[in-house]
Symmetry: C2
């Protein structure tokens, strides 16, 4: 049995607009003991992802909000340190939703064992985990990119966008990224192999994007909204597909921003479709097979931005919402 | 050979906002003679449809605009009065795009022969023509209604909306219409068999629609936009489908209206897809088979609003844009 202290980051209050450090609270409690059928996981890595902003709000959504006083939700990689479940042994490395805490109990249903010899375990929180599968399913199931088409994606150095563009390249498309600043743009082109990457802070974003997309845009993987969406919209080709995955640029807006004009949807015969990764749960085996092979073959690269210490998770998360991370944002908890 | 005068309604100028009678001009010219391979059609009926508003504008769209000084485009039913094409004989009744004129030449490519014994020939401009096929393909291909779901459609007494709701009923759905005024609403429920119909002029439209859709809305066939769209949006269920067919309430707006907020697209996993009927040209045989059988079986009813005289086409068309017609709007030309 583990003994000692379980640090937890709780949702202390709901943000009104942009969240701040005062919305979180770090508390300590005794490490819990697993009941019959349960395991106790020691968190090694915590994943920080944009969807968490939604869970901080009480607004109706596809998932229930985190309640005030509850630990923040989050994907984790952990080690089994106590087990009363025959499927898991002490020492197993697993991924699941342990949340923002040192230790988590689980009945085992949401846990998946990892093979540390097959890939670095942190990949299970990024390129081989929820963000990677979000990119894979949204791009392939909704975007349906065909060789020779142009795929545009924002947050192109991030956990989802980086995979979108690389899979687009694997499928024979032109991949055009949008990212924040010259370092990220350089990484996206030179390391990840995108054909072009535009700095979204550029005053002539729309013009640069037009130059980078000489044949227009056939798939726009929407994960930011806002100004990038506005720059992309006039470049969409007839029959373009827009998987709507996220709107990080709009998450803190007090009022919903108006959507793109419907005339273009009609005239260009656009398809917009919102999704979350769990809608495509049936594709997980395909994803793990394909993405695993691409990672091993060097065709799918990833970069991690690792912050040390659970106590730094709130600040790191606030930075994520402002695009301050560079690569998949993880917290090394232990 | 026909001799005499060909009256034509030309586009005289492009509207700035709502079109007026002064945008049209009625002119007379000699009846043309068919060249080799051509036929001359005498127009019997001219169809008036909302899409014509788009053709009056120079804005880029899926079809090229009517040029100033050209006859307005339009679907027609006509009689072959001279033929130098082996496929057509004098006396054949055909449907095609003859335009707003007494006589039209055709090479035959866009013409389809009608059997007046099978159905009234005017049906080829409505329930068994472009509007009916628009409803059929948009609802079934994009809307994908499942038995027990709720389908909502505006302009429910019109050429497209009336077919949408009746096919929804055939497929086992709850059909909820929105229409302009108590007479149309009564017709939609009592004659066409919708489960409910709301007057879009009602000050409490949103509340009435909510009452009429106790299980929310799974398919919203979008053909009006504007206030109806705003009333529908909060009622959409998760995974709702929105075939975007038209935006008649917005056609005269000088500025594009903002679209619905993208958060709902994301959170509810909505699918919006713009289309025009020609995108589904491959479905024409299915449509004619199914809709023909439904009409003969009394399961698909239609109402026509027939205006006499080509010279009255412009005023009738302006009325269509204001919802003044009641049923499929046709001009009896001869």
């Amino acid at each position: 049995m583990a003994t000692g202290i379980n640090r937890q980051v709780l949702l202390k209050s709901r943000p009104d607009g942009a969240p701040g450090l005062d919305n979180f609270e770090l508390v300590e409690s005794p490490v819990p003991e697993p009941g019959d059928g349960e395991v106790l996981m020691r968190t090694r890595y915590l994943s920080l992802d944009p969807y968490m902003r939604g869970r901080m709000s009480a607004a109706k959504s596809y998932a229930k909000p985190v309640e005030i006083g509850e630990p923040m939700v989050g994907g984790t990689v952990g080690e089994i340190v106590a087990s009363r479940n025959a499927r898991f042994a002490v020492g197993d490395i697993v991924t699941g939703f342990g949340g923002w805490q040192d230790y988590a109990l689980s009945g085992g249903a949401g846990l998946r064992k990892l093979d540390p010899a097959a890939a670095p375990v942190t990949a299970a929180l990024g390129v081989l985990g929820m963000p990677g599968m979000t990119a894979y399913t949204g791009l392939l199931e909704i975007g349906q990119p065909k060789a020779g088409e142009t795929v545009a994606v924002a947050a192109a150095s991030g956990a989802v966008g980086s995979v979108v563009g690389q899979i687009a390249k694997i499928k024979g498309c032109r991949a055009v990224g949008i990212a924040g600043g010259p370092d990220k743009c350089r990484h996206v082109v030179e390391e990840l192999g995108f054909d072009a990457c535009i700095d979204h802070r550029a005053p002539d974003l729309a013009r640069q994007l037009e130059v980078a997309c000489p044949a227009g845009i056939d798939v726009y993987f929407e994960n930011v909204g806002g100004a990038v969406q506005q720059a992309v919209w006039p470049l969409l080709n007839d029959f373009a597909r827009i998987p709507v995955c996220g709107l990080i640029a709009q998450y803190n807006a007090a009022q919903p921003m108006p959507g793109p004009d419907m005339f273009s949807v009609l005239r260009k015969r656009l398809t917009l479709r919102g999704f979350i990764v769990t809608d495509f749960a049936a594709k997980q085996a395909d994803f793990l097979r394909d993405a695993g092979a691409w990672v091993r073959g060097g065709r799918l690269k990833y970069r991690e931005d690792v912050v040390e210490g659970l106590e730094n998770a709130p600040a790191a998360f606030l930075g994520l919402l402002q695009g301050k991370n560079f690569g998949k944002l993880l917290v090394k908890v232990a």
